[in-house]
Symmetry: C2
Subunit: 235 residues, 2 copies
DNA sequence: GTCTATAGTGCGATAGAC
DNA sequence: GTCTATCGCACTATAGAC
């Protein structure tokens, strides 16, 4: 699957997610017409992510959000009951899409080396189209309350586990040399996170998501290379 | 140099830095007795880092800082003229120590493979003893004003350049196989950052800084391994 | 469904006693 | 050098007009 195809699939999912959020939060949302609600919710989320990523969620006042989104203070409070609830809605939206897309794309029947490439590529593609959300989530997790923080941590470890499993299976089939799959998965994840956390750096260097994906896959496969010709340790 | 030796050297530098800050900010600092000032400054920085890393610098009110540090609001304002200035003082303190330690430790006459190991180890050791500051800096950079942000970005790219140079030199001497030294340095840096950004993860898994250093060095050297026996590409 | 106006709170910052 | 008391302001949240 190319990035363009991926984008098409995922953007449809995003539309679905916004509708789900509307359906699910009807207790907090005073608006009854779906068309109006979904349009405004998308606007609110988008603006909130933009402002938060510039100066942090706490520093973004609801007056900022009101001014930039074009909705009045009163209108905003028709979509959530408190600033904290807005934060939770944003977090849930992204977590849901992440899980949906990742499980959709990765096929457990593929051999581990193929699965590894697919997982890396899918993760990078997903964070590319949802860059603002991933950056937000990365930066704001510590400002959440304890139960929400726990969800974020679980979500992170869940993603890491996907890579641990692939590496273990690959080692079992002698496709990879893996001394410590937990640490290996961890550093792989850090490379994937760099793509959305340090977006400015890659944009400045004009590196596309496909170029980055190619490089990371090559680097990791080289590090994990089963090399029967050299049985020596590398230090 | 072991982590213990490193710690000893660096903590002395930290003391020096606090004195430098006092000397340099005498315009803002109303206190005249160095002993009192340095002691309270250390307390203020330490408490501010603790609270900020829990919930963000903006969310930490100066009343929080006052309560937790044991100093009154009035006393705090004897050490800085505004909350924003406090933030800048903290940023400068860390940047200064980082530069000091990194240039002290890395010996440009060593061969590239040794330099790479030293640079990785030094970086991890430094971020280990200054974990709170590095985490703070990582999370709060986007909340700084433009000139301060620029300094942070320059500092980041400077560190990355150290690795780019080592990799290029190593490739020149056929010690490493490096297809793209800029991207390679970038992913190396992301692994080093993970150590202080995701501290909770490694603490939970009881992984020490030396274990992490060993793993990262092994992983990277394996990825960069000059392997004359196999001239094939790895994909 | 969206607006404006405003209540109530907690903030950063300072003045002045000790 | 440190404290308490307080000012003015900007914030979140809501009530009520349209």
């Amino acid at each position: 699957m190319t990035f363009e195809e991926f984008k098409h699939t995922a953007l449809i999912s995003m539309e679905e997610i916004c509708q789900e959020i509307f359906a699910e939060n009807q207790a907090s949302i005073k608006i009854k017409k779906q068309a109006v609600a979904v349009k405004n919710l998308a606007n609110i989320f988008d603006t909130a992510l933009k402002l938060s990523n510039e100066k942090g969620f706490q520093s973004m006042s609801l007056r900022d959000l009101s001014r930039t989104s074009g909705l009045s203070m009163g209108a905003l409070y028709s979509y959530f009951t408190s600033k904290e609830e807005l934060l939770e809605m944003i977090q849930n939206q992204g977590r849901r899409l992440t899980r949906k897309v990742l499980t959709q794309q990765i096929n457990a029947d593929d051999p581990p080396d193929k699965m590894l490439r697919t997982a890396i590529r899918t993760h990078l593609y997903l964070t590319e189209i949802m860059q603002k959300w991933f950056y937000f989530s990365y930066m704001e997790t510590k400002n959440l309350d304890k139960p929400q923080q726990k969800k974020s941590i679980e979500s992170e470890l869940e993603t890491e586990q996907v890579f641990i499993d692939i590496l273990d299976e690959g080692a079992r089939k002698n496709l990879f040399v893996v001394e410590n799959s937990v640490l290996a998965a961890s550093v792989i994840k850090s490379m994937l996170q760099d793509w959305y956390v340090k977006r400015w750096k890659y944009a400045r260097r004009r590196i596309s998501v496909d170029e980055y994906a190619e490089f990371v896959i090559g680097f990791i496969e080289s590090a994990l290379k089963a090399d029967p010709g050299s049985g020596t340790k590398n230090r």
